[in-house]
Each structure stands twice: as C-alpha cells, then as structure tokens.
Subunit: 244 residues, 2 copies
DNA sequence: ACAAAAGTGTTTTTTATACACCCATGC
DNA sequence: GCATGGGTGTATAAAAAACACTTTTGT
C-alpha cells in the first residue's frame, strides 16, 4: 500500500477534473485478413500532428457512453457496432495540459472499446487532419498514454471473442462459417484452432441457423449462409462459454 | 446510437467533474462460511444515515488507485490485500449533489474491487457512524447507485476466482486444501465442484507445494499445509487457467 | 469402536485435437 | 480432370464429473 507524501497531507483540497473519453475502435478487414484500429491525427497542442485514439472531452449533461458514441459518430458512419467501457486512466500527470504544480485541473480518461463492421463503415473526412485505419502491428507511437490504452483494448478484444458472441454483432446478417473462422483467425492468429473443429463446436452451441441459402465465392463448393439466432443464444447468456 | 437532444447542441461547454472512488471490499469468513462486504454509514447529506460503499473524493495530486488505497486504509487495517479497478459510473444525475439544471459540477465514480483477508483485518472504529461487514445476501438498500456497483463487483469476484489465483492473496501463508475449497464454495456456492476433483485439479496445476507440516483441526485426520509458490505460478500467468 | 475430516483411486462421460476423406463448384 | 474451398467423420488423447474407498485423527 503506497504511503502519503508529507506534501499531500498539507493540501487536502479536492482535485478538479475534466473527463475525456477515448475510443479504441477495431474492425476486421476480412478481405485482407487484417485487424484494424481507427486513429486520428491531433489538430491541437499538445501532441499536435501525432496520431492518437479518437477522443473527446465530456460535455455538460452528457453521459460517458454518449460521449463515446458522439466521438465515434463524428469520425465514422457505421451500421453494426459493439461498444463497451474499457478502463479509466487517471493518474496525475498523464496529460501535459495539467499545470506542473499539480494545483490546476486534472485530465481523466475513460476509455471505450468498440468493434465495428468494416465493409459497411465509412470514414468521415474532415478536410483538415488525418483519419485512418491502421493494421494493429503497424501502429506508430501515439499521443498521451494511448499505446497503453490500445494494448488494453486489444487484450479485451481477444478475450471477448473467446467467451462472447461479439463477432456476430459485426458480421453481416447472413454469413458463412468461414467468414466467422476468418474473423477469428485474423484476431487470434492462425493457430488458435483447426477449421473443422471450430466449425463443429460453433454449430453444437446451437445459436446459428442455416438459412438454406448458398453463396459461391469463386472456385470451390458454395458455402451455406447462417444467421445468428438471438433467441437461441439467450439461455446461454451469463454461462461460461468457450468459442474457440 | 443515441441521438443528440436539441438542448445539447446549444451548450457545448465542457462538464466540470469531481471524481470519487468507491471500493467494493470483500472478505471471506471461512469460519462461518460467509462472503462479506464492507459497508459504512453515511455521515453527511445526501443519503445521511444510509449504508454505502466506502468511498472518497480524489484529492489534488492523488492518483485514482492511491485514493482507493487511502479510503481502504482509513476504514480497515489489513495484512493481505488484492485490489483492482472495476468500472466507472458517470451518467449525469447519479449524484444528487449535482445541481438540477445540469450546469453545475458533475460527480463521477470510479469503483475499485478489493479482496482482503478476514481473520487479520481489523475495522477502524471512528466513534461516530457505523462500519460493518455485511453478508452478501443481507445487504440493504444502499445510497447512490451502490447496489449496482456491488453487483458488478460480485460478478467480478466470481470470475476472478475461476481464472486467477486471487484466493491465495487472501489466504494465510500456509493453508490446507480444505481452506481453499471452503473459500471457493463460500463464494461460488456448494455445487461448483466436488472436493476431491477440486483437490486433484488444483494440485495438478503445480504451484502449491506441500510444506510437510500438518495441522489438526478438532476431530479427523490432520491436513497437510501448503504454500503458494509464486515462481511456479509465473509461467502460467496470462495463460487461460481454470481453477474450478 | 466410531465419527469426522483428509486423501486416493476408479469408472464413466464429455471435450479437445489431429487428421483423413468426401462434396460441389469454376476453370 | 483437377485445383479450390466447403463440409463430414473417425480415432486418439485429455479433461471433467461422479463416487467409492482408504487413512488418520479425536472422543
């Protein structure tokens, strides 16, 4: 347990905060088998010209979650979307805008994690400044502590895939089992499971239903199209599930 | 995605926050097979006289985690302790101290989750006002949104037990396998696993070492005392573990 | 002797893993 | 025909679950 510096004892005044929301927005480009993160270029000091996670400061009367949705909507138009809170980073000194004498306003960042459907999402060009999907392995050094936040979000994404049906929030209404498999391999790596075993396990869970429709993608046998059945999944909620 | 009310558009001023930290502090009374939460009675308005989670507002120059440790240390003297961040609750209107016209200061609460060793913890009596361990099923209606926070922490505790060795942070240096089993049953319920299977699985993981010492507790065969071997556990870190 | 708690072993069922193989299509 | 991706089945190994049984103590 950390002790109190003698300095702290002399000033028991409460800190005043501005609260920021930073989004780690992932999407999977299944065509190119790449996991992407959305980055934007900072327009202001500090860190002007550096890449960072899309974020905003929370406004009066606005909830944290609403702020997260707002910044997302400002950067990108999406159809399917999954969003949840990640972690709150709040040590003093994490934002250079805080005055050095630690008497001024503090900046606290609540991070959110989002997964969006790549093919139907459309980046909103602002004219000035950049916005781009970055493959996860090519992310540069980011402003603030955003590399750390991203790392945290990446870990969460991998966990979420393993025990929750997030993947289906972000797949088209109808999809093939290889679509699902590709999404999983892209995020978790090639050797997470054999395709045929993945397939069997997934179907045994019982919440995917065969639509009867087939789709042919180039050469090879046409694949069956499946649909996620939310009703069939409902009883499995809260149960410890393993997808991989 | 939520829309923007027309009201919001007219005032884009940033919200000013005070940040609070609320702790969900659990401990397990193995003697009585009860899972306990630490509650304190509010001394001030709002909710004067109501029970709530021990919390505090973050001071200048203080990190969130330090605030969490501070409030814990003010209420209870502990030997063993595990602490991690839980969730941040930040909607407008969650604290009645916010002025009704939503122009005033906002109160945001970062919640922390803690597990402490019951037998060596000592509540700090403040003279005025109450502080008490409550069995989880007997928790009354709490101030603010603290019942919700508690529910969230309870879920986290159950998950943590299943895939991480938190239990050993909170057991004595040396313990019997039934001590571990009792802790698990108290938190997860009687039917989470058979004792003999639990035992076998736990030992197969290989990070518990038999000290050779025995302890006799009343009637029955004396039990071996084990020690948690952090070095032996190290390689298992980050690996998906199942304890139950 | 016997109840109580600790600890071991055995049997059955389920799940994971690694493949081998058949099917339907485009070229 | 054959390459390509889709889909099924099987054989083996490992893990989970249920439970019977032995061992060592206190009384």
């Amino acid at each position: 347990m950390p002790g109190h510096s003698p300095k702290q004892i002399t000033k028991l005044t409460l800190a005043d905060f501005k609260v920021g929301v930073d989004n780690v927005i992932f999407s999977v480009d299944t065509a190119q088998n790449r996991l992407l993160v959305l980055l934007v270029m900072r327009q202001d000091e500090p860190f002007l010209g550096k890449w960072c996670l899309p974020g905003t400061l929370v406004r009066q009367g606005e909830s944290l979650e609403n702020a997260a949705y707002r910044i997302l909507a400002e950067k990108i138009r999406v159809k399917n979307l999954y969003l949840e809170q990640l972690y709150t980073f709040g040590g003093p000194g994490r934002d250079p805008r805080e005055s050095p004498d630690i008497y001024g306003v503090r900046y606290l960042a609540v991070s959110y994690f989002a997964l969006v459907r790549f093919d139907l999402s459309e980046l909103i060009a602002t004219g000035v400044g950049g916005i781009a999907w970055y493959p996860i392995e090519q992310v540069p050094q980011l402003a603030f502590d955003h590399n750390q936040v991203l790392e945290y979000g990446y870990r969460r994404l991998r966990n979420k895939l393993e025990y929750s049906p997030v993947a289906f929030e972000v797949l088209p209404e109808m999809f093939t089992l290889s679509d699902v498999y590709q999404l999983y391999t892209t995020v978790l790596g090639e050797n997470f499971s054999d395709y045929s075993n993945f397939r069997t396990r997934l179907l045994k869970l019982g919440f995917l239903c065969d639509t009867g429709l087939k789709v042919s993608r180039g050469a090879g046998r046409p694949a069956s199209l499946y649909r996620f059945d939310a009703d069939a999944f409902a009883p499995l909620k809260d149960k410890p599930l393993v997808f991989i």
